[in-house]
């Protein structure tokens, strides 16, 4: 059997089995899901090759599955991260309700993502895209009524994206008479100007929704933060990358060949939108008090950079964007898992309540610290390399104000990075969290593996450059030069990651050991209550942690920019639409079977009446 179909089938079977397994014991459902995903991962890494092509004939048209260098890269990322997350998921979801429902959808999302990556034609792409949307929607509403509204918001935006994609596909087919992605790539340049612009707009809308680009990002923060964390690790880390994947295809392989000046304007606008997304989402992340919400906004901001990189479209910037996409999947996955671990152990993610978990949950902290360092783009971890390439590509391609925008948001990212670590792991020890224990090993190990990989890619980015260069070649960017440890831009300036890492490790090691060993006997380890409080003795119930409104002065300084809240307008708009969508919500009763039935009916209609729809 073809390995691609095998992966899809394993995952599909896993989804069904996970649903059934909860009848035996709820835990088994998570384990089944983990087994399905990990065996699919094993199949993916051992058996697939980029020459696999399989055709599935349904009635009178053909769905074509295949793998190429580009989708292999994303597939490897999806499979690797989701296997670790599903391992984490076992312990994380233990004891929660409706595990069958959750896990089957969880597996289905992974299946859909792999399906998208394997699709060689727009029809199967669209079908899997919709499956992904629906199953992720079902998980968003998993938590209850309040999430229903968030789910509706997500659904509205996804529907807009989906219809845009559908229209684009229909138009494509009517123009070039083929559903194959490769046909669009090859014949795009031949289309007339108006058609190119229209297609460009539609595809950008379709993918920007998932990539959460500025005007279409509204659904993202709440949807990311209010889902179960093991899913958010995938949702924010991987699912959003499907938007990036699509944008990559459209922007690079399709538009790059276009001579249309409108398209260049589009990409410029998209780049600016990405940059503004980065800045605004960062500012919003800075003022959050909930760790999950903070990370959710930070995801939006990070996706902004990736979009900037893709939209600029030089070799270096695309490389940076894809590199950052992979890094983002890793570190954001780790961070959401860390937050999940904290939530599981303490029951809250409110940074104004948490504090000083560093002694209680050291391994979680280490994983979070590494990820945060990568997120902030500080050398020597992987995040820095993406940032460096992005800046270099921006400056060498004369995007002088874009670099300032991205730099502003990445500097402001230090604020929320620190806020995150401080709010959860540092500060005063609280009585409430006295007996908190480290999360179980099955949760810690996936985090540590991902965090270690950040370090590895920071030291040897070449291991990632190779597949990226291959996929860029596939996308038609031509030969891309790369080397194992040296980054360089087109002006010829270089950065040697190996010497950076060596230098940092040596000096840090010496300093750390010096501090640890000097007067080791006479160093008094004290509690966080023993601090300088002007000589006074703080009473028991007094709060000594500076936690509320942490960045008040900064908020005051950025007040003019924050006055017009985009969310506010969308909410107004959403409230207006509320009644319109009331009946939609009535259909989403919260019962798994109904959803499944609905999805299946939708797919059947899509397939049966495809001729009428598409032609």
């Amino acid at each position: 059997m073809n390995s691609l179909l095998l992966i899809i089938l394993i995952l599909l079977g896993g989804a069904v089995l996970a649903y059934l397994a909860k009848r035996i014991t709820p835990m088994l459902s998570s384990i089944v899901s983990f087994l399905a995903i990990s065996s699919a991962t094993a199949v993916f890494f051992t058996m697939t090759s980029s020459t696999d092509i399989v055709e599935v004939n349904i009635r009178n048209f053909t769905l074509e599955f295949g793998l190429n260098a580009y989708s292999w890269l994303f597939g490897a990322m999806v499979m690797g991260v989701s296997a670790l997350v599903s391992l984490y998921n076992i312990a994380y979801m233990k004891g929660k309700d409706r595990l069958g429902y959750f896990n089957s959808n969880f597996t289905l999302v992974v299946m859909a993502m792999m399906g998208i990556l394997f699709s060689n034609d727009w029809i199967s792409f669209f079908i899997f895209w919709e499956i992904m949307t629906w199953s992720s929607f079902l998980i968003i509403v998993y938590n209850g009524i309040e999430e229903g509204k968030i789910g509706t918001k997500y659904m509205i935006f996804s529907a807009v994206g989906g219809y845009a994609m559908l229209m684009a596909i229909v138009i494509t087919n009517s123009q070039i008479n083929s559903f194959l992605i490769s046909d669009l790539i090859s014949s795009f340049a031949g289309l007339d100007m108006g058609m190119q612009s229209l297609l460009g707009l539609l595809f950008m809308i379709a993918f920007s929704v998932k990539a959460a680009v500025m005007p279409l990002h509204v659904w993202a923060p709440r949807a990311y933060s209010d889902s179960p964390m093991s899913f958010t690790a995938i949702f924010s880390g991987l699912l959003s990358k499907m938007g990036v994947f699509g944008l990559g295809i459209v922007l690079i392989s399709v538009f790059a060949k276009s001579t249309n000046s409108n398209i260049i304007v589009y990409t410029e606008i998209l780049a600016w939108l990405g940059a503004i997304t980065g800045v605004m989402a960062t500012f919003y992340a800075v003022i959050q008090t909930d760790a999950k919400r903070l990370l959710a906004y930070s995801s939006v901001a990070q996706l902004g950079y990736i979009v900037v990189g893709l939209a600029i479209g030089t070799k270096l910037s695309v490389m940076a964007a894809i590199f950052m996409a992979v890094m983002h999947a890793i570190f954001k996955g780790t961070l959401f898992m860390a937050v999940g671990a904290v939530e599981r152990q303490t029951g809250t993610t409110d940074m104004t309540k948490l504090g000083a978990l560093v002694r209680k949950m050291p391994w979680t902290f280490v994983a979070a610290l590494m990820s945060i360092i990568a997120l902030a783009g500080i050398p020597p971890l992987g995040g820095f390399i993406g940032k460096w390439m992005l800046y270099e590509s921006l400056i060498t391609s004369d995007h002088y104000f874009l670099i300032v925008m991205t730099f502003l948001s990445s500097t402001a990212a230090f604020l929320y990075s620190y806020r995150f670590l401080f709010g959860i792991f540092l500060g005063q020890e609280e009585k409430e969290f006295e007996n908190v224990k480290e999360a179980p090993a099955t949760m810690v190990i996936p985090m540590m593996i991902l965090a270690a990989s950040l370090f590895f890619f920071g030291m040897f980015p070449g291991y990632l450059f190779e597949p990226i260069a291959n996929s860029m070649e596939f996308l038609g960017m031509g030969q891309v030069d790369w080397s194992m440890t040296v980054l360089s831009n087109q002006w010829g300036d270089q950065v040697d990651t190996l010497s950076i890492v060596n230098s940092i490790i040596t000096i840090f090691g010496i300093a750390f050991i010096f501090l640890g060993l000097k007067n080791r006997k006479k160093t008094r380890y004290v509690t966080t209550k023993d601090i300088h409080t002007g000589g006074e003795i703080p009473t028991e119930n007094e709060n000594l942690t500076y936690a509320v409104d942490f960045y008040k002065p900064f908020e005051r300084a950025i007040e003019p920019a924050m006055r017009r809240k985009m969310d506010f307008y969308y909410n107004k708009f959403g409230n207006g639409l509320e009644s319109l969508f009331e009946f939609v919500r009535r259909i989403y009763t919260g019962n798994g079977q109904t959803y499944a039935l609905y999805v299946i009916i939708f797919l059947v209609i899509l397939i049966l009446f495809s001729e009428q729809i598409f032609l």
């Binding site: 006479k522 008094r524 023993d530 300088h532 000589g535 003795i537």
Partner: protein, 181 residues
Amino acid sequence: MPNDKKSQKIVDIIQNAARKHSLFVLAYGTGCGAIEIPPTMTSRYDAERFGIRGMATPRQADVLLVTGYLATKTLKRVIRAYEQMQDPKYVIGFGSCTINGGMYWDSYNTIKLLDKYIPVDVYINGCMPRPEAVIEGFIELQGLIKDGKANGATKYKENIDWYRANQKKVIKNWNMPDYNW
């Protein structure tokens, strides 16, 4: 105790020289003598010439300057600040009130003999001591440090029980964390 220069190791000599020339004073105006600290530190007398410098927190300070009488309420804070300081640390008793209670000898709220509560390395007498006297006191302390004789902190650690008993006699509600030395 043969604590003269000859018996000191070379490391000690360097350390003591550095300690001598760099005295970080805890910025704690405990009593009314605090009014003579600004003139001492500012342009006319300029104690910074001798490496004397104010520090904001006890963690970073070397010298606790008890400027005058201590009310019992302040004594508690002073003890806490003193114990938060890091070795080697020195105490300068400033003004007559630290020596024998001064003009508040019959006040119900001030302690009379400072070195019953915390070890004092150098006393400066006067009410109040002039800035010249303060600097003189610091120079005296520097001399003690140079010879390795300013060992009030060691004395405090060795006799902690005695000091603690005295302190608890005055401070009725001892709700401070007890430090283990």
